[in-house]
Symmetry: C2
Subunit: 117 residues, 2 copies
């Protein structure tokens, strides 16, 4: 039911196979939430955690924060703030890139990185 929940449980269980420190309760304690809450999040019977909590989860599970945030229906505030500074420009770009395949977008990323602009 919940993409985020399924993903989190899968990753945590995997980690848990080689390290008992990745029980639900231990993770919950490390990231600073109640185990019952994390349990509900993993089973999708709760809305998405806050950005802060998702970031702590990402760090603890060694996952990419942007991915967890996306699965939780959020966008990193630093990205949002970059976009908000030039809303028309980024709106145009992002909508244009909507249907462009990954490899082509990656080529643009590489071009930008190389300074070919």
């Amino acid at each position: 039911m919940s993409d985020l929940g399924d993903y989190l449980r899968k990753q945590r269980e995997q980690r848990r196979q080689s390290d008992p420190q990745f029980s639900l309760r231990k993770v919950a304690q490390r990231i600073g939430v109640q185990p019952s809450y994390l349990s509900k999040v993993e089973r999708g019977s709760e809305g998405s955690p806050s950005e802060e909590t998702l970031r702590r989860l990402a760090e603890d599970l060694n996952e990419d924060a942007d991915i967890l945030l996306a699965l939780g229906g959020k966008i990193s505030t630093d990205l949002a703030s970059i976009i908000r500074k030039r809303p028309k420009l980024f709106a145009e770009l992002i909508r244009d890139l909507k249907d462009i395949p990954d490899h082509a977008v990656l080529r643009i990323v590489r071009e930008v990185r190389d300074g070919n602009w």
Copy 2:
């Protein structure tokens, strides 16, 4: 104090000079909010209106919705959803574009549009 409020008031007042239908009360009625609420929004003594309300405002004032949303601290849900579908890719791209000047970003937009990818 409020960028959004200042902007809205300025645009509305300007429109009002040539068309009395742009009084605060008239606009409020057309977009479906109480005049007192719009008044507070324009003076920045209220948080940002919802995306829906900002969109109606943009339409009524003939302004760009992405700009009003940005001033209101929001990002269009359609953009957010495009990003969330490929979070790593877009996160990387957007962070890389953070300090790239407008004209260079525009060149990329044009390239994408021309299919040079």
